[in-house]
C-alpha cells in the first residue's frame, strides 16, 4: 500500500509505515543489515557512530514503555540523540492537533520521528506532512501496522528456519485487533511463505481476512497441525470478557497453547510471541519457557532490526 509514500523515487526506503506493499528486496535488505548489527549489541562498547548528530524523536501518543525503550536503545547504539515524548499526557490534552505537534517538533530540527498512535493511519498522515528530509517510522498505529515487530519476527524465523519458502506458519489469537498480525501477514506473503494460517474464534477475525492471503482455522488443534512456526498474539485484558469472548478460562481451554497441543505441530516447530505475554491465557508457562520458545531471542533481534531500519532510513 502507498509504496510511493514509503519509497524514494530511486526505490530506496524513505519512511517505514507498513509492510503492506513493500517489495521483498527491501525486507531482505533490512534483515541482512540487521545481521550486521547483532554483533554490536554483544560488544563491550555497544555503540557505532552511524547516526551521530541525528535527532530522533520518539512520539508516543499511546503509552508504551517496552516498545519505546527498544527504539531508544536502538537509536542510542547508533549514537543518535533521542528525545522521548509521551504526548497523550501533554499537548493532545491541551487541544493541539497531531499535525501541529509534528510541525512544532520539526521546527526543533528533528531528523526522524518514531510514531506510535492509537489510530490506524496516523504515521501515514505524519509522513504526508513532514519536511522532505524527515523520516518517519511507524511504531504501531491502531490495529493497522507494527512493521518493526513484523520485521523482527521475520528475522527470527529466518534465523531458526533458514528462509520462508518451505514453511507452514500459524498466527494464533486476536487477529481482528492486532497490528502485529497484519504486519506479519504482509511480510510472510511477500517473502514467499507458501502456507499461512490464522487461528481464532470468529469474533476475533476481520471479515474477508482471506483476501490478505491466509487460510482461516477456528480450532487450534487443526490450525497448528504440522506447522513449522506458531506465532501467538497477545490478548488484551479488556477483550477477555464481554461480547467477544466469554472468559479467559474458556479462551485458554480452546486457544491457549499448551505443551500437549504444541505436539501437533512439527517436532522442531518454534513458538513466538510479541510480548508482553499473558501466561495462562494465550500461552502456557511450560511452552513460553520451553525448549521450542524463541520469545526472548525475538526481543534481542528487535534491537538489531530497529537499528537496521534507522540506519537505512538515515541513508547509510
Amino acid at each position: 500500500m502507498t509504496p510511493d509514500l514509503q519509497l524514494n523515487p530511486d526505490g530506496s526506503l524513505r519512511h517505514l509505515l507498513s509492510l503492506d506493499g513493500l517489495p521483498a528486496r527491501i525486507l531482505t535488505q533490512i534483515l541482512d543489515t540487521a545481521e550486521g548489527f547483532l554483533s554490536v549489541s554483544e560488544q563491550e562498547v555497544k555503540k557505532v557512530p552511524l547516526l551521530r548528530g541525528k535527532a530522533i524523536f520518539n512520539l508516543f501518543f499511546e503509552p508504551s514503555t517496552r516498545t519505546r525503550t527498544t527504539f531508544e536503545i536502538a537509536a542510542k547504539r547508533l549514537s543518535a540523540d533521542v528525545v522521548n515524548l509521551n504526548i497523550s499526557a501533554s499537548s493532545q490534552s491541551k487541544g493541539e492537533t497531531l499535525l501541529d505537534t509534528v510541525a512544532n517538533l520539526s521546527a526543533m530540527h528533528a531528523d526522524m520521528f518514531i510514531v506510535r498512535h492509537s489510530s490506524a493511519g496516523a504515521a501515514h498522515l505524519i509522513a504526508r506532512h513532514v519536511a522532505e528530509h524527515i523520516r518517519v517510522m511507524n511504531a504501531g498505529d491502531g490495529r493497522h501496522a507494527h512493521p518493526t515487530q513484523g520485521l523482527l519476527d521475520m528475522f527470527t524465523i529466518r534465523h531458526y528456519k533458514g528462509g520462508f519458502h518451505n514453511l507452514r506458519i500459524a498466527i494464533v489469537g486476536d487477529i481482528l485487533h492486532s497490528r502485529v498480525a497484519r504486519s506479519q501477514i504482509n511480510a510472510l506473503t511477500t517473502l514467499g511463505c507458501p502456507e499461512l494460517r490464522v487461528v481464532a474464534p470468529k469474533t476475533l477475525l476481520p471479515r474477508e481476512v482471506e483476501a490478505m492471503g491466509v487460510h482461516v482455522y477456528h480450532r487450534l488443534e487443526e490450525g497448528i497441525k504440522d506447522v513449522d512456526v506458531v506465532m501467538m498474539l497477545r490478548l488484551q485484558n479488556e477483550r477477555m470478557q464481554g461480547a467477544l469472548l466469554p472468559s479467559p478460562q474458556e479462551y485458554f481451554k480452546y486457544w491457549g497453547l499448551t505443551p500437549e497441543k504444541l505436539k501437533l505441530a512439527k517436532p522442531d516447530a518454534i513458538v513466538m510471541h510479541p510480548g508482553p505475554m499473558n501466561r495462562g491465557v494465550e500461552i502456557d508457562s511450560d511452552v513460553a519457557d520451553g525448549k521450542q520458545s524463541v520469545i526472548l531471542p525475538q526481543v534481542t533481534y528487535g534491537i538489531a532490526v530497529r537499528m537496521a531500519v534507522m540506519s537505512i532510513l538515515a541513508g547509510n
Binding site: A120, H124, G142, R143, H144, R182, P206, E208, A211
Partner: protein
C-alpha cells in the same frame, strides 16, 4: 426582471422535452417556452447556444452549518456554492447546533436564508427533541414554521418504541419521515465498510447488516404505523433489494443515494484518505454496481449531494478520527452526469434524478419548466470538463474525494425565482 434565454437545449424530464427552445421569464415565473408572450421585452438576453437549459437542481440533503458550526462553513458561503452548482432548492437536515427542533429556529433559518442570494432553503425538522431519540418534537408547530418532513439526520433512534411512536405521530398528519437506516449498536466505532480493505487497514468496520437490520425495522414499522418514509443514503446491494421488494408490495417508500456512492468504493480509502470517510461508508464494487442498477430501474428515486463541508482541522486527522462527510453541492451535477455518461443514460434521465424526482419527494413545485411555474433554472455546458481543486470549489469545505480530478458539466447560469443568482464568465 425579464429574461430571454435563447438557443439553449431545453430539457424538461417532466414534460419529456429535449429540444432547442427559447425560454421567457418574467416576474419570477416562466411565461413562455418556444414562443415569446405578447409584448415581451427582455431586460436581459442570455445566449445559451451549446448549453443545456433545465430545471434548477433540488438537493435533498445539504448541510449549511448554521446555526452552530460556522467555523466549518457559513450559510452565505454554502448558499453561494449551491447556486454555483446549479441548485435552486435544497433541504437541510436538522443536525445543526442547536438542532432544528423548535419552530423559532426553523423560522430564523428560513429568514436568514431568504435574506441572501441562493437557493430556496427547506429545513427538515427534527423528529425527536435534540435528536436524542427520547421525546418527539412539536411536529405540527414545526410544520407551520415551514418543515415539510422530519428526520433524525445521522443520529439513529436507539429505542424502537420511540421510533414507532414518532412515525405514528407523523402519520397522523401525513408528514413524511426521512430516515437513515443505521443500527446504533452495529455502527458503534465503525468507520469503514466491513470488508477486505477494513481488514487490511485495521479500520473499525461498519457491517452491511447495520443498514439492513435498521431498514427492516423501518419497513415493518411503516406497515403498522402507516407512515410515509423516505429512506436516506442507501449504500448496500442487500438494502436495495429490500427497498425493491417493499416498493413491489406497494409501500409508500422512496429512497435516495449520495452521489459519491455512484462512483467510489472501499478501495478508494486506499491510503487512509480522510476525504473518503463518509457515512454510510463506501462499500464493495458489487454494492456500487447495485446502486447503479437501482438508479437505472428506478428503485432509487433520487440522487443527493449529502453536502457536508468540513474544515481542515477536523479532516486532517487519522482516518478514524476525522469528521465524516464530503463537500458536494458543486459536484452533484458533474458526478451525476459522469454516471449517466458511463452507464449510457441520457441527460434527461440524469436531470430527472436531481430535479423533478427530489422535488416530488420534498413536495415542492420545483423541478419543472412549465409556463406558470416558478423560474428556477440551471444552464450548464455538458461538454466542459473542469478540475476539482481547493480553489475551484466555492464551498468553504474543501473535503472532496475528487480533489485533483476532472469532472464533466459546468454550470454557467443559475436562475432562482427569476433572478440570475449565479453567472460564470465564458472561459472554459
Amino acid at each position: 426582471m425579464k429574461i430571454h434565454i435563447k438557443n439553449g437545449r431545453l430539457i424538461d424530464p417532466r414534460q419529456g422535452i429535449d429540444a432547442v427552445q427559447d425560454v421567457y421569464i418574467a416576474a419570477g415565473h416562466i411565461v413562455g417556452l418556444g414562443q415569446a408572450p405578447a409584448d415581451f421585452h427582455a431586460n436581459r438576453v442570455i445566449d445559451a447556444t451549446g448549453l443545456v437549459v433545465c430545471p434548477g437542481l433540488v438537493d435533498l440533503s445539504a448541510r449549511l452549518r448554521e446555526p452552530g458550526f460556522e467555523y466549518m462553513a457559513t450559510l452565505e458561503s454554502e448558499m453561494r456554492a449551491a447556486a454555483a452548482g446549479g441548485i435552486t432548492s435544497l433541504a437541510c437536515p436538522p443536525d445543526t447546533d442547536p438542532p432544528l427542533d423548535e419552530p423559532g429556529l426553523v423560522e430564523m433559518l428560513k429568514f436568514r436564508a431568504k435574506s441572501m442570494p441562493g437557493p430556496r432553503v427547506y429545513p427538515i425538522g427534527a423528529l425527536t427533541w435534540k435528536l436524542r431519540g427520547e421525546r418527539i418534537t412539536e411536529m405540527a408547530e414545526l410544520h407551520e414554521a415551514g418543515c415539510l418532513a422530519f428526520s433524525q439526520a445521522d443520529t439513529p433512534i436507539v429505542d424502537t418504541q420511540v421510533l414507532m411512536r414518532a412515525m405514528e405521530y407523523a402519520a397522523t398528519f401525513d408528514y413524511p419521515v426521512w430516515l437513515r437506516p443505521r443500527d446504533a449498536h452495529l455502527i458503534k466505532d465503525g468507520v469503514a465498510h466491513d470488508g477486505a480493505v477494513a481488514a487490511r487497514l485495521g479500520l473499525p468496520p461498519i457491517p452491511v447488516v447495520s443498514e439492513t437490520i435498521a431498514l427492516a425495522t423501518i419497513i415493518l414499522l411503516m406497515k403498522t404505523t402507516g407512515a410515509r418514509v423516505h429512506v436516506c443514503r442507501l449504500s448496500s446491494a442487500a438494502a436495495i433489494d429490500m427497498v425493491r421488494a417493499a416498493k413491489a408490495e406497494g409501500l409508500p417508500l422512496t429512497c435516495d443515494v449520495n452521489v459519491h456512492h455512484l462512483h467510489l468504493t472501499e478501495l478508494d480509502i486506499a491510503d487512509f484518505n480522510p476525504n473518503c470517510h463518509l457515512y454510510p461508508p463506501f462499500r464493495s464494487q458489487r454494492d456500487r454496481d447495485a446502486i447503479r442498477a437501482a438508479l437505472a430501474d428506478g428503485t432509487i428515486d433520487a440522487i443527493c449531494s449529502d453536502h457536508a463541508p468540513v474544515d481542515d482541522d477536523a479532516k486532517e486527522l487519522p482516518f478514524q478520527e476525522s469528521e465524516p462527510g464530503a463537500t458536494g453541492v458543486e459536484l452533484l451535477l458533474p458526478l451525476t452526469l459522469r454516471w449517466a455518461r458511463e452507464s449510457g443514460h441520457g441527460l434527461s434521465r440524469a436531470i430527472d434524478l436531481i430535479s423533478r424526482r427530489p422535488a416530488e419527494i420534498l413536495g415542492i413545485p420545483a423541478g419543472r419548466l412549465e409556463v406558470g411555474a416558478p423560474a428556477d433554472l440551471c444552464l450548464f455546458n455538458p461538454e466542459t470538463w473542469w478540475q476539482v481543486t481547493r480553489k475551484s470549489l466555492r464551498s468553504l469545505g474543501k473535503n472532496s474525494p475528487f480533489l485533483g480530478l476532472e469532472v464533466p458539466g459546468q454550470v454557467r447560469y443559475t436562475i432562482i425565482d427569476g433572478h440570475i443568482d449565479f453567472e460564470r464568465n465564458h472561459t472554459a
